[in-house]
């Protein structure tokens, strides 16, 4: 077995690992990047990127269907599954190729194979083209997370899909049952619903999108209802039976069992950390109770030479969190004084409409001892939203009543995933509600909603009546009623 030495070795080429490797190389470190499958990891190959290609296409179908309302008359759209899949593949290929080019251009050595720790300063990599021992004073482990499987729903890639099969668009089933009403389940379920499937979502908890502001969830739920999707909450998926006509998903609600006939099932109940086969325990790396690797704020594990970033280092499981952590770990290895010090970690859900959050929710702010002040602005009152005919949703901001500091934002509505960026910057810069309210926003645009929400929190919204927070003056009543 050939032994090779590097300044640092990154294991896993997802959005955490590939970024870490580039950053190491930028800082003059001789870096290797080990990947057993495809560069870009789940995000580029089977997650964020392909799903967004499908979501955009599905939204287009949806727009065409609704175009008649605006006087545009077309034939009902038909979907060429092969062609759409080819488009999606093209998108993925382009980005994966781009990662390869970036690694090469920065001088990162990509090693294809499966890595296993044999010492705190060495891994063995087994690949199709050979076996190597890679030695380095520092390692970054970024092997991410894998799909949680549930008994009775073994993923076969044919009838029972995981997200990985679903984004490959094998076909458009007549009736798709999604087990799990979380981000992945709802994003992909909505895609299939828009492409023509009947959709049933089975969620074990009392609410879909657990953790998201319930008021925002209601907007998503209304949309699902309008497209005649069925959402079953507090429902346990018990098992699956097959007969000549197709599949039946058995579920239990309030102790009563029922069956849902369908032709495909998507299992999307969550992700769990994936350190299997890495030999981390042999190297002495300490894992937490849920299987996440314990790290400090410089992403060092209990073994000082081994760093861990991304999903494997703990929630939130987000690609951009992994990338940021990859940069930090690389900088620490290169001797910089970097550490985790972000204030804002935005999260975006690509449902219809999109949901995005950053910072503290009202409850979280209260739990932390703030007296929160909330400002809300509905897209129904925003010129641009009305003009593009996407008026469902709102911007909600949370501030600290005492200081006026912005603490967080939840946006549900058109382009929420884009709009959240401004709130993240504001939080990171330590903005007051007033700072956002006083910043001129171009008209007519969707970000005006964020400005108006901050103004509303200050009781000064222009395009909404500032009713709840301020005691009304008697003479203001007629206007308020109007």
């Amino acid at each position: 077995m050939e032994t090779r030495s590097f300044d640092a070795v990154v294991v896993g080429a997802g959005p955490g690992g590939y970024v870490a490797a580039i950053r190491l190389a930028q800082l003059g470190k001789k870096a290797a990047l080990v990947e057993k499958e495809s560069l870009g990891g789940v995000c580029l190959n089977w997650g964020c990127i392909p799903s967004k290609a499908l979501i955009a296409a599905a939204n287009l179908v949806d727009e065409i269907r609704g175009a008649a309302d605006r006087g545009i008359l077309t034939e009902p759209p038909r979907v060429d599954v092969e062609k759409l899949r080819a488009f999606k593949d093209q998108v993925v290929k382009k980005l994966v190729g781009g990662v390869g080019t970036l690694e090469k251009g920065n001088g990162v050595e990509v090693v294809r194979g499966t890595a296993r720790f044999v010492a705190p300063n060495a891994v063995e990599v087994k690949g199709e083209k050979g076996e190597w021992r890679l030695e380095a004073p520092a390692f970054i482990v970024a092997t991410g997370a894998r799909t949680i499987q549930i008994p009775g729903f073994e993923i076969d890639g044919k009838d029972v899909w995981s997200a990985r099969e679903a984004v490959d668009l094998p076909e458009i089933p007549k009736h798709l049952v999604v087990i799990g009403g979380g981000i992945i389940g709802l994003e992909l379920g909505t895609v299939y619903a828009k492409l023509g499937s009947k959709l049933t979502v089975v969620e074990a908890l009392p609410q879909i999108l657990t953790g998201v502001d319930p008021e925002a969830v209601r907007v998503v739920q209304k949309n699902l209802r309008q497209r005649e999707a069925t959402v079953l909450v507090s429902a346990k998926a018990k098992g699956l039976s097959r007969d000549g006509n197709g599949l039946t998903v058995k579920i239990e609600i309030d102790g009563k069992e029922q069956g849902i006939a369908c032709d495909k099932v998507l299992v999307a109940v969550g992700m769990r950390p994936d350190a299997s086969g890495l030999g981390l325990d042999a190297a002495g790396v300490k894992l937490g109770p849920k299987g996440y690797v314990e790290v400090n704020e410089r992403y060092q594990t209990s073994v000082p030479s081994i760093y861990c970033i991304g999903d494997l280092s703990g929630p939130p499981l987000l690609a951009h969190k992994a990338s940021k952590e990859g940069e930090i770990a690389a900088e620490v290895i290169a001797g910089h004084k970097s550490l985790r010090d972000w204030v804002a970690m935005p999260a975006a859900v690509f449902t219809d409409p999109e949901v995005a959050t950053v910072g503290l929710s009202e409850e979280e702010a209260r739990a932390k001892g703030y007296e929160p002040v909330v400002g809300k602005f509905g897209f129904g009152a925003l010129g641009r939203a009305i003009a593009i005919d996407h008026t469902d949703g709102f911007v909600k901001v949370v501030g600290d009543k005492a200081s006026g500091l912005l603490l967080g934002a939840t946006i549900v509505g058109p382009e929420a995933s884009d709009l959240i960026a401004e709130a993240a910057l504001a939080l990171e810069m330590g903005a007051y509600l007033e700072d956002v309210a006083l910043t001129v926003h171009a008209h007519p645009t969707l970000p005006e909603g964020f400005m108006e929400a901050c103004k509303a929190a200050l009781g000064e919204a222009i395009h909404a009546l500032n009713r709840p927070e301020r005691p009304r003056k008697p003479e203001a009543r007629p206007a308020a009623r109007a």
């Binding site: 657990t210 969550g270 987000l318 979280e364 990171e428």
Partner: protein
């Protein structure tokens, strides 16, 4: 609540002490009686041991800062408390997550102790975060500046890059510690007009202004800023004194005492001070009072490797010449060896400075505040002088008397100088003063 180690009383009248050196860092386990920190007062350097066993949670002062007596120095986590503190208190937002079936992939992880969230989220209201943009935070980390301790000058108290740079320069270059922390410690005196940042070349040797050097710096600056220095210079014919010294030295050597000029100068100064008591005084700036001393405790400026130290000859008026010589020798040896005792420092009302062989022609000595006068004695050299119309070669020395012109008028200072010169030129007169 962590245990707080309080800076104990470390000397009469001592209200603050400079943190010289920490022997521990956050995270270290400490035993009872383990030395924790070395602090320096204007009287002595003291090592403070830990009264308890535990783990260091936080050092509340940086090296070089002035800690106040009776205020906490550091926080210890006593046994059994560390675990209780390690409470999940993530400031990260719980993100929207797929609904977990078996509980995996969920729940915020308890941060490791290194994480700063560990100390927060424990009720008692949110700790105000230092408002600073990411680039400012990165700069602070790079420079090792604690953002919580930087007074922000931006809108709403935001910390700017200039604030961070300014704090760094204060810590590195000026006599004042960084101003108060956000967490409400009483603000120390506002820094005097912020010193301009000096450009530093990579090859410069940078020496932090700490310890004795800082004391000297502060002391000299106070003296120069407050006293109105007036320096009076005159030459002294010490030919006769040299002869007397030689004779006495021979006798003293038999008693194991080395006689120098200094005991004579001390004697002469005491005799002159008795005639001109306005120079044997200290000033109380705060109360605007002059305290004329009835005691004659004379400071003798001495150089050491670390810097200038002024041990004090107590009751110089009540000591014999031999006794004075002995005492001056002892103080000199102790000071050089760094063993000078607390009771040998402070309380003087007049100071003599002598550079010995490097004495030069004359100088402009800086008064040992709060005293009002200082005498510099310089090199003795054979010099042609005119005596009775003839040029003769005599042993001549210059004296430089600096006095605080706020307190001592010119003619009073000059009169004192001539009285002193009189004793030195005719040492027989001194015998009248000898005890």
């Amino acid at each position: 609540m962590p245990y707080q180690l309080i800076l104990p009383d470390i000397g009469e009248g001592v209200v603050e002490a400079e943190i010289q050196q920490w022997f521990v860092k956050p995270g270290d386990a400490v035993r009872e009686d383990q030395p924790i920190v070395e602090v320096m007062t204007d009287k002595a350097t003291v090592t403070i041991p830990s009264p308890r066993q535990g783990r260091v949670a936080r050092l509340l002062w940086k090296e070089g800062e002035l800690a106040k007596v009776h205020e906490p120095l550091l926080e210890l986590e006593l046994e059994g408390e560390a675990a209780a503190r390690d409470v999940p208190g993530s400031r990260e937002v719980a993100p929207p997550r797929p609904s977990p079936r078996d509980g995996e992939g969920d729940a915020p992880r308890a941060p490791l102790p290194l994480s700063r969230e560990a100390g927060e989220g424990q009720g008692g209201g949110p700790r105000p975060r230092a408002l600073a943009a990411p680039a400012v935070r990165a700069l602070a980390r790079q420079l090792g500046v604690d953002l919580q301790a930087v007074p922000g000058t931006g809108p709403g108290g935001r910390v700017t890059k200039e604030d961070v740079n300014g704090t760094r320069n204060l810590v590195n270059g000026a006599a004042h510690p960084p101003a108060s922390t956000r967490s409400g410690a009483p603000a120390p005196l506002p820094p005097s007009p912020q010193p301009p940042a000096i450009s530093s070349a990579a090859e410069d040797e940078v020496i932090p202004l700490r310890g004795l050097r800082r004391r000297i710096a502060e002391h000299m600056a106070i003296s120069k800023h407050s006293a109105a220095h007036f320096t009076f210079v005159e030459q002294v014919d010490v030919t006769e004194l040299t002869r007397v010294k030689e004779r006495i030295a021979a006798a003293a050597r038999e008693q194991g005492v080395k006689i120098t000029f200094l005991p004579f100068i001390v004697k002469a100064a005491v005799a002159a001070l008795k005639k001109h008591p306005s120079l044997n005084a200290v000033i109380d700036e705060a109360r605007q009072e002059i305290h004329r001393k009835k005691t004659f405790h004379l400071g003798i400026a001495s150089s050491t490797e670390q810097g200038l130290v002024v041990p004090v000859v107590r009751d110089a008026d009540r000591r014999s010449l031999l006794d004075l010589a002995r005492e001056i020798e002892r103080l000199g040896a102790d000071t050089k060896a760094g063993k000078v005792r607390r009771e040998d420092l402070g309380g003087s009302s007049f100071t003599i400075t002598s550079l010995g062989a490097l004495g030069g022609l004359f100088a402009t000595p800086i008064i040992n505040h709060p005293e009002v006068a200082i005498l510099g004695v310089h090199r003795i050299r054979p010099t042609p002088v005119v005596r009775d119309g003839q040029v003769v070669v005599r042993d001549v020395m210059h004296v430089s008397l600096s006095f605080d012109h706020r307190i001592v008028d010119g003619h009073a200072g000059a009169a004192f100088a001539y009285a002193l010169i009189g004793y030195l030129e005719d040492p027989n007169l001194l015998f009248m003063e000898l005890v």
